[in-house]
Symmetry: C2
Amino acid sequence: MKIAVFGTGVVGQIISEKLVTLGHDVMIGTRNVKDAMIKSTTDNFGRPGFGEWHKANPIIKVGTYAEVASFGELIINATNGSGTLPSLEQAGSQTLSGKVMIDIANPLDFSKGMPPSLFVCNTDSLGEQIQRTYPELKVVKSLNTMNGYIMVNPSLLPGDHNVFVSGNDRDAKSKVKDLLKSFGWKESNVIDLGDITTARGTEQLLPVWIRLWGVLQNPMFNFKIVIGQPPKNAGE
Amino acid sequence: MKIAVFGTGVVGQIISEKLVTLGHDVMIGTRNVKDAMIKSTTDNFGRPGFGEWHKANPIIKVGTYAEVASFGELIINATNGSGTLPSLEQAGSQTLSGKVMIDIANPLDFSKGMPPSLFVCNTDSLGEQIQRTYPELKVVKSLNTMNGYIMVNPSLLPGDHNVFVSGNDRDAKSKVKDLLKSFGWKESNVIDLGDITTARGTEQLLPVWIRLWGVLQNPMFNFKIVIGQPPKNAGE
């Protein structure tokens, strides 16, 4: 499948690499291709800058957001949350219309110090903002509650753990679930929370995710929902 | 130990019953004792109203928030989030000074329709509001991320799952961890997230908790953090 990945950061890179190994035709999008290619410095985690990374992954095409949105049958939003709506504006609503977008970004707000807060409150989510702004785009929020390595390789963690799916379009969610399966997610570990408003729930997992990262000193973890039998009088 | 439980709802009842079975001397607090006792109607989950419940549990004392706060060496806040600060005001800062409070309440806002949102945003939490208002009270946020039955009996769910602890005072957290252990929590399943600001993380688990309850049609579940080995280049 022709897949467009928005965002040239670590998560965009990891996802793109995985998609290629699965046989997909991948084009990764950025605001300005020339600027992105110049970034050759390594990041804090020892990964090379985008230019260096692309030299090692020449099979992955690179284009502007508009170019990759035209190219992709499916779009994966791996931009920074604050860059998401601007990147979609560059792509244009005509190009986005009718396509499926997996939104894996989070509305992190670094303007109020560390750790980041969220730039949406409890009655909205980035997923809904995208869906409202582009009603013809089929937005499915998923994979935003773990790091990139685990997204594309859930067996990096022992045993079962969960990935959530939120979206208004049943067929779009079905396509996303197929992709999750190809990444290695067991069907029984995929939890469909319902429509796109349920993205409020998963985006608000980030504040505890960030603090857990600090406490565990390790970003390789994920949430598992452990379920028991309802007792007769199971209240709150 | 003499323990005060704020709040006569389902969670306050469950916690009080458990504390009695553990040999504690328990007094449960409410705004107006006479009004609380009149509540004899059963709730949606088949539990009797407070008056009926108390007839079945006469060993548990009942008093105003001020009376129970004076009584308790340890205070457990099991009020509705919106009722927490008013209940503490009735108790009075003099009475609360120097005591340890386990805050298990959540800042749920039912005014904007169902499912509820939160009345704090991303840069505050109910736990912090309590701590700021009563600096001499040692607030420890815990147990707010699961239902009452699981709080006091974690073995109702299969295998391991987690409870979080947030608070500024090390000794107070240590006392709370001892109480958690007496409830059946394994030490390895207690995650100390740090100071009281980390309550932002756990309170913001509620939006996904509420939606999971809807999807699973079962309130008997909890979060488990599944941890793996950090790879060399583990980024975001």
